[in-house]
């Protein structure tokens, strides 16, 4: 019902995911589950050192082929399973060492998105890692997995990147939309960020129509006991928000999930996607 689910796959960001998840689980007083997904791709032929293009068939070719392919898959799956097990054991030790009370682990077959959708009823927060090179390579290199997960699931997603010391200063990316009002409301009610400094930042021109909702957000957080300040930064959110983050040493960005239609995202990309890819600090994506 209330698990924090941390998805690990052994890539470079795994320690960051582990630390972020441990921090969130302790804050939420929730059990932490590490999830490793074994995603076999049978639609892809296994690359072989000596490919067989002899194009002939003889007695028992079909049976032999079935046995060979089956044995190959079995061997790879066993290896992947064992590697996954070792990875899970190491992150569990790391999380326990940092003081999380209940740590579990799960291995599932299938794609990450379908697995998370299946686990959604028993989960409260998903923690994922962003591939470290995704930001540098720019728009052409898409780390689709993270975006697909964010599109598909309803629960909040915490995307870890870089190192993840316990955040102390968060910022909410605010655009005045009803969705962003809900995000402020959610942050105010949740124990996850209680006691942190939490700024509300809006990108755009400094006008009364922007000031008014921003002031509401600031007041709402102040009532909830946050030490908070509101700011309007000029320019496009894709560039001005990261600058604000760096300037104020903010170590957690909170924002809404995709607001645009799938078609628009395909063509122009969304602010969420760009920020996810360029943010130097962990991002908490809320619905």
């Amino acid at each position: 019902m209330n698990h924090v689910i941390a998805c690990v796959d052994g890539a470079a960001y795994t320690p960051a995911v582990c630390d972020c998840a441990a921090w969130a689980a302790q804050r939420l007083a929730a059990p932490l589950t590490f999830l490793q997904v074994l995603d076999r791709h049978p639609e892809r032929a296994p690359l072989s050192d000596s490919p067989d293009w002899s194009g002939n068939i003889g007695l028992g070719t079909q049976e032999t082929l079935l046995q060979e392919l089956g044995a190959l898959d079995a061997q790879r799956s066993k290896l992947a399973q064992r590697q996954g097990r070792e990875l899970l054991d190491s992150v569990m030790r790391r999380a326990s060492a940092s003081g999380v009370a209940t740590v579990e682990s799960r291995q599932r077959h299938g794609s990450l998105v379908e697995t998370l959708l299946a686990l959604e009823p028993e989960s409260r927060l998903f923690v994922l890692g962003q591939h470290p090179h995704a930001g540098q390579a720019g728009r052409l290199h898409l780390d689709h997995t993270v975006e697909q997960v964010i599109c598909a699931v309803q629960r909040p997603v915490l995307v870890a990147s870089g190192g993840c010391p316990a955040p102390t200063h968060a910022a909410i990316a605010f655009d005045g939309s009803p969705a962003s009002h809900q995000i402020v409301e959610a942050v105010a009610c949740s124990p996850l960020l209680t006691g942190l400094r939490c700024d509300v930042v809006m990108a755009g021109e400094d006008s009364a129509s922007h000031r008014e909702p921003l002031e509401w957000a600031r007041a709402r957080l102040a009532v909830a006991g946050f030490q908070t300040q509101a700011a309007i930064v000029a320019g496009e959110p894709e560039t001005s928000l990261p600058a604000y983050l760096a300037e104020h040493a903010i170590d957690l960005l909170v924002m809404g999930a995709y607001g645009h239609s799938r078609i628009r995202q395909l063509i122009v990309g969304s602010t969420t996607t760009t920020l996810l890819r360029t943010s130097p600090v962990p991002v908490l994506v809320l619905r």
Binding site: H41, P42, E43, R44, A45, L47, S48, S50, P51, D52, W53, S54, G55, N56, I57, G58, L59, G60, T61, Q62, E63, L65, L66, L69, G70, D73, Q148, C151, R262
Partner: protein, 494 residues
């Protein structure tokens, strides 16, 4: 998102493997398409156009990525008489009608009927197919000079031994190139592909079959089209499940049925014969690393390019080289395992397999063989289940009363055994029949119970039957599984 991701998965997930495997398959398809045209009694170009067309269309419309469809021996064998008696145009018309039938079959989801085709029937089907393909080569091997035998033997040698040297080049291609070279260099006087009829010299063009549009035409082509549709779907479904098993992925059977239909209609309109999925080529495709739709598309396109531009060379290929390739196909299609299993498997399944083979080889009609096989396996199954029936009894009340207890399956095949299990000669006052642990599957079973009760009454006994409502729950055709998830448990529990 679902559509784009399945598109990526079907087309783009295995590009390199698909392109290479498609090329290997195209090279192997050419001799087969020519050979099957000759079996059907039409010009080689009919089979080559068909193979191109079916492979390309099925790449988009099929339900089993990575499966190869083209002109096949199974279909060619069905159309022999039609071509002989009415000519090519009627074959093209029958091809169109076959496509229509197959689309309807896909629409009605008839692919699920494949579950009634048991493993033994499938084995019988492929063995019969292998035997028929081999037998179709015999005309090229009788009343010919020793040169032809030597060529065929050399061809088979190259096909099976060349891979020991390198597996980077398709050995059937090497066989064809070498034998063609030898035949041309030595100016051997043997049959070549050019002697067998026209080869394609340009891209296929759209044309409607030149047949009178009347009921007579329909009467001529319908039986053939029906058989073609059934045989095509049977082989396609079997091949699909083989590819499913080899690649450990699922296929969409209904989409495959309709896809075969669309491919056949396209083939008929471009002057090709009807075709279906090919077991041998699909295995070769998977073996060469093909998995996605791109492999099928590559095979079709590359085949046409080769044939149109190399037509002059294709003409020179000696028939002996084709025979060698076809012997390889028939050897590869035959299930060697099944011979070893003849002794190991229960006799009933071996009989089903052999009956399928015998009927196909005798009638040259794969549909008839499968029909006999399915019928026999159904009968054997009924016979086996009918043995799961026991009637116990015990006497009570100083022999004045007897309690019968029926356990097991009562239906048409076991009704007689059921009736014979009661002792009507015994003189008793009261009979108690407990059927709560039996299943009455049909009206025959209920009828048999009625008869037993009547007979006891006529002998002067009072009859009491208990548990009938539980026993006859199985009579209902629909168990309404959707609203009672435990219906099956409840049914089998009592």
């Amino acid at each position: 998102m679902h559509y784009t991701s399945s598109f990526r998965q079907d087309w783009l997930s295995n590009i390199r493997g698909d392109l290479l495997a498609g090329t290997v398959v195209a090279l192997a398809l050419i001799p087969e398409a020519i050979a099957f045209s000759i079996i059907a009694g039409v010009d080689p170009k009919i089979g080559l156009y068909a193979s191109f067309c079916i492979a390309v269309v099925i790449a988009f419309t099929g339900g089993r990525p990575g499966m190869i469809s083209a002109a096949t021996g199974a279909m060619a064998l069905v159309m022999v008489t039609l071509v002989k008696t009415h000519g090519l145009q009627y074959l093209l018309a029958a091809t169109l009608l076959t496509g229509v039938f197959q689309i309807v079959a896909g629409w009605l989801r008839l692919g699920v009927l494949m579950r009634f085709v048991s493993r033994s029937v499938v084995t019988g089907f492929v063995n019969a197919l292998a035997i028929l393909i081999f037998m179709a080569q015999l005309p090229e091997l009788t009343n010919v000079s020793w040169v032809v035998y030597a060529m065929v033997a050399a061809g088979l040698g190259i096909i099976y031994l060349f891979p020991l040297l390198t597996r980077a080049v398709p050995s059937p291609l090497v066989c064809i190139v070498v034998l063609t070279g030898v035949a041309m260099a030595l100016k051997l006087d043997i049959h070549t592909v050019g002697d067998m009829g026209q080869l394609p010299d340009r891209l296929p063009v759209f044309l409607l079959p030149d047949v009178p549009l009347n009921l007579d035409t329909l009467r001529i082509i319908t039986p053939y089209a029906l058989t073609l549709a059934v045989v095509g779907l049977l082989e396609s479904m079997m091949t699909a499940s083989i590819v499913d098993e080899l690649t450990d992925t699922a296929s969409n059977k209904s989409r495959e049925c309709a896809g075969q239909g669309i491919a056949n209609i396209a083939s008929g309109l471009l002057g090709g014969m009807a075709g279906c999925a090919m077991i041998g080529q699909s295995v070769i495709n998977v073996k060469s690393g093909g998995r996605g739709r791109l492999s099928t598309l590559t095979a079709g396109v590359f085949l046409l390019v080769l044939v149109v531009f190399l037509g002059e060379w294709v003409r020179q290929i000696p028939m002996a080289a084709l025979v060698a390739v076809m012997v390889m196909v028939s050897i590869g299609t035959f299930s060697w395992e099944s011979l070893k299993n003849l002794r190991k498997h229960p006799p009933s399944s071996s009989i089903v397999m052999l009956a399928t083979v015998v009927v196909v080889v005798a009638t040259h009609d794969l549909a008839k063989g499968v029909f006999v096989g399915v019928l026999l396996s159904g009968l054997f199954f009924a016979h086996k289940v009918a043995r799961v029936l026991r009637v116990d009894s015990e006497s009570a009340d100083d022999g004045k009363c007897r309690a019968y207890r029926v356990t097991g399956q009562v239906f048409f095949a076991s009704a007689d055994t059921f009736t014979a299990s009661f002792d009507f000669k015994e003189v008793i006052e009261r009979v108690h029949i407990d059927v709560s642990r039996a299943h009455f599957w049909d009206i025959t079973a209920v009828n048999a119970l009625d008869k037993v009760v009547m007979k006891f009454r006529r002998e002067g006994a009072t009859v009491e039957v208990t548990g009938l409502s539980e026993a006859s729950a199985t009579l209902v055709d629909q168990f309404a599984l959707h609203d009672k998830p435990d219906a099956v448990e409840r049914l089998m529990d009592h």
